[in-house]
């Protein structure tokens, strides 16, 4: 798993979403709901592509349940599970 753990993954996912994908303000945090923040079908694939570039791991769309998209923290836990 190398440099990637739940904490670093959470930070990376949060940064990708905040800086490159979503149009959010300071109220957006690692605990914010991603769908409510504007994550849609196109944005989620852009997020997964950016994550793949960072971690080398592709997260299949079928793993993206509402629970896993509840927050950057929840998604990080899902990805961490894949990275083992």
């Amino acid at each position: 798993m190398g440099e990637w753990n739940r904490e670093t993954l959470t930070r990376r996912i949060f940064e990708i979403l905040r800086d490159d994908i979503l149009e959010v303000d300071d109220r957006f945090t690692p605990a914010s709901n991603l769908v409510e923040a504007g994550l849609d079908s196109l944005a989620v694939t852009q997020l997964l592509l950016a994550l793949e570039e960072s971690t080398g791991i592709w997260v299949d769309e079928s793993l993206l349940t509402p629970e896993n998209l509840a927050s950057a923290e929840a998604l990080a836990a899902c990805v961490a599970g894949i990275l083992g």
């Binding site: 979503l22 079908s41 196109l42 989620v44 694939t45 769309e61 993206l64 509402p66 998209l69």
Partner: protein
């Protein structure tokens, strides 16, 4: 929305390129339709009143579409809108209660009509009351496809109803419908390169060109019909759960696309005809954040998929292939490239654009039309005082490819609309297509 000239979006112009072709070959316009099946309590006069107010507040509803100069981008001429007639509301008495899935004949006929968009005829309603409305009313809204896209058409219905209920103030249009948002993007070198990338991608799709069920360049007069199949709540829940499990919570459209490809493949196999490869465009909503409720004009790009017939034999394998194609397309910027290419369609003569597309695919546009529009008017239970029993979309499809499938969910029930040109698919083939689709959606043979 005020102002004299409002440019069409690139997507509007891209679709408009095929509008002229449909007219020349078939004598009709390229239209879209939305059907509301209402319970008791609908009054057509209320609709007329709301439309008159809406046309006053949003003159684009009856604004002539024209090119202000020979090679300029086409526009809605809002200054001429007040002289155009209001959108028509026609009433035809229904013969039987609207309990079944059969649709009134007039709705199919309307899709074959010619709309005079240059004179501002962009939208009309057909109202079919049953037992004077006591047993319910079917309402079809039919429009020149450039006026709204699928999401915009639902937003318009919602806007009419919110104005009726006083929830939305007079003149208050959703964000994204203001004049500040409609200027065409600059066509610099960067967008030129994007358009070229898209063109290269399309040429790649032509390596094994598609063949539609209608065959290339069908010249029969337009005669659109459609079948609607409404799934039970239990079956719909099973389909939705399977779509989420196979394709993901936010990206279920590929699950439905895979099923539609295999449904068409079943017909080709029954005919023992080589379909070439399945080439299908999938609309991608490009409304910016905050403008999700924008009503007017088309705000989409398109992703194109290509599948060899042998790759459609296994549902799961096909779905994985579609996922990989979508991922690669987004990664290589084809959503933005498609939008840039469509922006060039503002300036190209419409006939040339359609000719280029047909030439690439040996006379075809694609294998069939497809759309998945998810929940239909979620949270809206009534329209102008009458309960909504069911609702679905019916986009038209040109004489070739001649077949299109659109799926959406209304109040927990999946609706499949199969639109086809009469004579392209037989009754047996339509049953086969729907049976194959159902089996794949439910995962049950």
């Amino acid at each position: 929305m005020r102002g004299p000239l409002v440019p069409l979006t690139g997507a509007d112009c891209f679709l408009r390129a095929f509008d002229g072709e449909v007219r020349r070959s078939a004598g009709a316009s390229h239209l879209s339709q939305l059907v509301l099946r209402l319970g008791p309590g609908f009054d057509p006069e209320r609709l007329r009143e709301q439309l008159a107010k809406a046309a006053e507040e949003a003159p684009i509803l009856r604004a002539p579409i024209r090119r202000p100069w020979p090679f300029g981008a086409p526009v809605y001429d809002l200054s001429r809108a007040p002289r155009a007639p209001l959108p028509r509301v026609s009433k035809v008495q229904g013969l039987a209660p609207n309990l079944s899935n059969s649709v009134p004949e007039v709705f199919c006929e309307r899709l074959n009509d010619r709309f005079a968009s240059r004179r501002g005829e962009l939208l009309r309603f057909d109202v079919v009351p049953y037992d004077g409305g006591a047993a319910g009313t079917d309402v079809a809204m039919t429009w020149v496809h450039m006026l709204f896209d699928g999401a915009g058409s639902e937003a318009f219905v919602r806007w009419l109803d919110e104005r009726f209920r006083g929830v939305r103030a007079a003149g208050e249009l959703p964000a994204g419908d203001g004049l500040g948002d409609v200027a065409p993007p600059p066509m610099g070198a960067g967008r030129g390169r994007q358009a070229q990338a898209w063109q290269r991608h399309m040429r790649g799709l032509a390596a094994r060109p598609p063949r539609s069920l209608a065959g290339p360049l069908r010249r029969e007069r337009q005669a659109l019909r459609y079948d609607v199949e409404t799934y039970s709540p239990d079956d719909t829940a099973a389909v939705v759960a399977r779509a989420k499990q196979k394709a993901g919570f936010l990206t279920p459209m590929l699950f439905y696309l895979a099923a539609a490809i295999r449904a068409h493949d079943a017909v080709f196999r029954a005919r023992a005809v080589d379909p070439g490869s399945y080439v299908v465009p999938l609309p991608v909503n490009l409304r910016p954040k905050g403008a999700e409720g924008a009503i007017f004009r088309t705000h989409v790009s398109m992703l194109w998929f290509r599948v060899a017939p042998e790759e459609a034999r296994d549902f799961d394998g096909l779905l994985e292939l579609l996922k990989a194609q979508r991922r690669d397309a987004i990664k290589s910027g084809l959503v933005e490239a498609g939008a840039a290419a469509m922006d060039y369609a503002r300036y190209a003569p419409a006939r040339l654009y359609a000719h280029m597309a047909r030439r690439s695919f040996h006379g075809e546009l694609c294998s069939f039309f497809f759309a998945w529009t998810d929940q239909f008017l979620p949270g809206q239970d009534s329209f102008l005082g009458a309960p909504i029993v069911n609702a679905f979309h019916t986009p038209s499809v040109p004489p070739s490819p001649g077949s299109g499938a659109i799926l959406s969910i209304r109040s927990g029930r999946l609706n499949l609309t199969h639109v086809y040109q009469q004579g392209v698919v037989s009754g047996e083939e339509r049953v086969l297509l729907r049976r194959r689709l159902r089996a794949d959606l439910l995962g049950r043979e």
